[in-house]
Subunit: 201 residues, 2 copies
């Protein structure tokens, strides 16, 4: 015997694709799952099935949603004049929790990163332009992290949006250099939003 | 909006139960899964379903198996006179890969650990006794790690098996104190098996 049974080998293989899960950890998780109750496994399976069937990206802001248009985009109580661009749904939630912003959102899901083969064409700028036009947005906040990738993406968006005659701002500095927006505390995000500045390349 | 949509919240919750996955990592994995292709998700779901349906524990050695009796236990080419007790299926594979052992196995799946509420009654010693009797085993190697839990479990097994008049051995020292057997290199395990000693409390 030189390998585990097929189902476990296959599961280990799939688990290694998950972020932050190395080969040894994948093995542990696979054996943990093999050892758990049938109920836990069934619960996991039905949750993943439901994710696969019922979760899509909102056609406007690209955040995950159960409906074609998400609750935030279909809400009539949000400020149409301002839109916040974030990298990830987790970032959107972090901004939302800060309480400093009641406008619209746009989720990129990725940042420019030539090393990872994420090039300008992979950033859906047209989706952003459509959202700006649909809501009649006057100001776009680029709320991307202050890393090389975040700044390169901000510059790309700034250059593309210039012609639209919208005000383009970015979060106030004070965010830790290279830090993930999602890990910043609510107070810091609150102040960064209030202290936002005009974007200048 | 103060939370993610239901399917994602539920998935994050389930993921935090996995070993080595903290709350933030669970969030990342959940969003990774939400973002992956439908194919990947379906593959994951069918692998888990297959694990749930087709993987059981071998009735003799308790290793994971597709059949009531696993391939190792049903093989006629193994040495019936010697049996190796391991904590986990990963440890069994590590011993098997060392090439120093061609006997039978018994997988405990847990070690004594009062802190985690794993008490003597939770260790299936009767299953081990049945395996010893079924194969006519003359020597039992206790191949458990040299941690407090591993040594306590070895002592429990030694005390219980004494009356059976089987030789009880343990792996040669040389294993790193507290080290996980599964991470030890094959050569070290090979030498530890060849240099095994009689168990004395």
């Amino acid at each position: 015997m030189s390998e585990y049974i097929n189902e476990i080998e296959k599961l280990i293989h799939l688990l290694t694709y998950l972020p932050g899960v190395g080969p040894k950890n994948a093995e542990r998780i696979a054996f943990f799952l093999a050892n758990t109750s049938k109920d836990f496994k069934e619960d996991f399976i039905s949750t993943l099935s439901s994710l696969s069937k019922n979760v899509r990206k909102c056609e406007i802001c690209h955040n995950f949603s159960n409906d074609k248009i998400c609750k935030l985009c279909s809400s009539t109580e949000r400020d149409n004049s301002i839109l916040c661009v974030v990298e990830k749904p987790q970032d959107l939630l972090a901004v939302e929790k800060s309480g400093a912003f009641r406008g619209r959102y746009y989720v990129l899901h990725k940042l420019l990163s030539p090393v990872d083969n994420i090039l300008p064409d992979d950033i859906d700028v047209n989706g952003l332009i459509n959202a700006i036009k649909r809501f009649g947005v006057k100001e776009v906040i680029l709320a991307l992290k202050s890393s090389v990738e975040g700044e390169a993406t901000s510059i790309l968006l700034f250059e593309t949006l210039k012609s639209l005659k919208v005000k383009i701002t970015k979060l106030a500095t004070g965010l830790p250099k290279g830090g993930e927006l999602e890990f910043v505390d609510e107070k810091t995000i609150y102040e960064a939003i209030l202290g936002r500045k005009n974007f200048e390349n």
